[in-house]
Symmetry: none
Subunit: 249 residues, 2 copies
DNA sequence: TCAATAAATGCTTTTTTTTGCAGTATTTAA
DNA sequence: TTAAATACTGCAAAAAAAAGCATTTATTGA
């Protein structure tokens, strides 16, 4: 077997599976592992893949997207935000949760629309301040360093005194049976209060979070009036959520 | 499984859920928790996530690289902040106002000191979140787009219910006779409430603002316990402020 | 064709990396 | 404060990489 041929096969495997193990390739091609090691080293030198301990991985697997986009799955979240924006009504009073998806919603609010926005996320508040026609009201309290939102009794108490038309919330985990769940107990308490303070609740979640769950429960799935994912509402992945109570967008 | 592959999955989980438990990941990937611990430590070292006790959290929340590109008289403000920091006491409860000088104070708070900080400035709150030993409590309310601080009745009411050891405040204008004055009526109301909520009030002001005044009055100069400028306390420019009641630093 | 050289490959040994484990220290939460 | 959970340390086994060497294969020029 020619060296070129071998290397071609290696690259092919890497392109196909994003990674290969040296031992696998050696067995597959029936040559010694040293040969494969040398091949991979050469290909690494040519920047055709990246050699790592025990194997090789494709370049696309690691590179770029880390720096230029700090936000995971930004494209999906943009899509979700776009859909959410269509639900906004001139003069409405809404609540926007923290998290990157909701932050994206805040970004995409049109400059022209007049809104009153409550939020307990520092970042969302900052973002909203650049919208000339949005009145921003921050629900204060102790700020959780991890999530950068207000949590605690004071926050919950304040939420109990307001009532908004729509709240747009994110969640850590969502499941058709277990409902919305979170990692943090504090956050669950606040989200409960948000839902209570809203006439209608809109959940923004990328489809990757569907059918996952964690320790603390925020609410049943029925507490959500509208769920927005980046998927088409007819997508089969949403079948479990398809019932008379929840509206998919 | 390759190490890189594992780390990629960890980053993915962190990006997805903002926070993950080491035990969860270990179970998910079916490797020992030590391995995950080492991976997370490594990724933390590369600034790809932040390791916390028991897990890891996404950087998107913490690395709010707030620019200080165009801060006027930054050097002077840094000097002021340095002096102000010396007044901080371990375990103290303080209030930090908005404005670039106070923001600089927030930045210069040592990582080691334990504090409870109230603030109504979004930027200050963000900055304080990077201090591991500072508990941040945001005094909520309607956010003024210009100053990026909470204003309004709700804010004032909440301030009426707290009492801090020290408040560090800025001002638009300060004069030995007319006291502290501002351009905005809203802001004056809030600052009054802040001073009321403080056992001692510390004014941070660059010397350029001395002997200037504006429309709305916050308080008399005597309401200030300590005034910090970038100048040496013996500087002649401070002569008018030299009396038995106000302490110059 | 045939030698001389260079390249490629496989094998062995040594070194490094990775991983899990056990014991101890530290942190967190009740 | 104590008890539980988590982190750290050192260690040993296993896997992989690196280096050196011998053998084979390919290439070149007479």
């Amino acid at each position: 077997m020619l060296k070129e041929e071998r290397q071609h096969i290696i690259l092919n495997e890497v392109a196909l599976h994003n990674k290969v193990l040296l031992t696998d390739i050696a067995e597959l091609l029936d040559v010694s592992i040293d040969t494969i090691r040398r091949d991979v080293k050469e290909l690494d030198g040519e920047n055709r893949l990246r050699k790592v301990h025990g194997g090789a991985i494709s370049l696309g697997f690691t590179s770029s997207t880390v720096q230029n986009a700090n936000i995971y799955a930004l494209e999906e979240k943009r899509k979700i935000a776009e859909k959410a924006v269509t639900m906004l009504k001139e003069g409405g009073v809404i609540f926007i949760d923290g998290g990157t998806t909701c932050l994206e919603l805040a970004r995409q609010i049109p400059e022209t629309i007049k809104l009153t926005c409550f939020t307990m996320s520092l970042q969302v508040a900052m973002e909203l301040l650049s919208k000339p026609n949005v009145k921003v009201i921050f629900v204060g309290g102790e700020i959780s360093p991890d999530s950068q939102i207000s949590v605690g009794l004071n926050t919950i108490h304040q939420l109990s005194e307001i009532q908004v038309d729509y709240s747009f919330i994110g969640t850590g985990y969502v499941d058709s049976i277990f409902g919305l769940t979170e990692f943090d107990w504090d956050i669950v308490q606040v989200k409960k209060a948000v839902i209570k303070a809203s006439k209608k609740t809109v959940l923004l979640s990328i489809s990757e979070k569907l059918n996952s769950q964690h320790r603390y429960k925020t609410c049943d799935i029925n507490a959500i009036n509208t769920m927005i994912t980046e998927l088409n509402p007819n997508n089969n992945l949403l079948n479990l959520f398809r019932n008379q109570e929840i509206h998919l967008l």
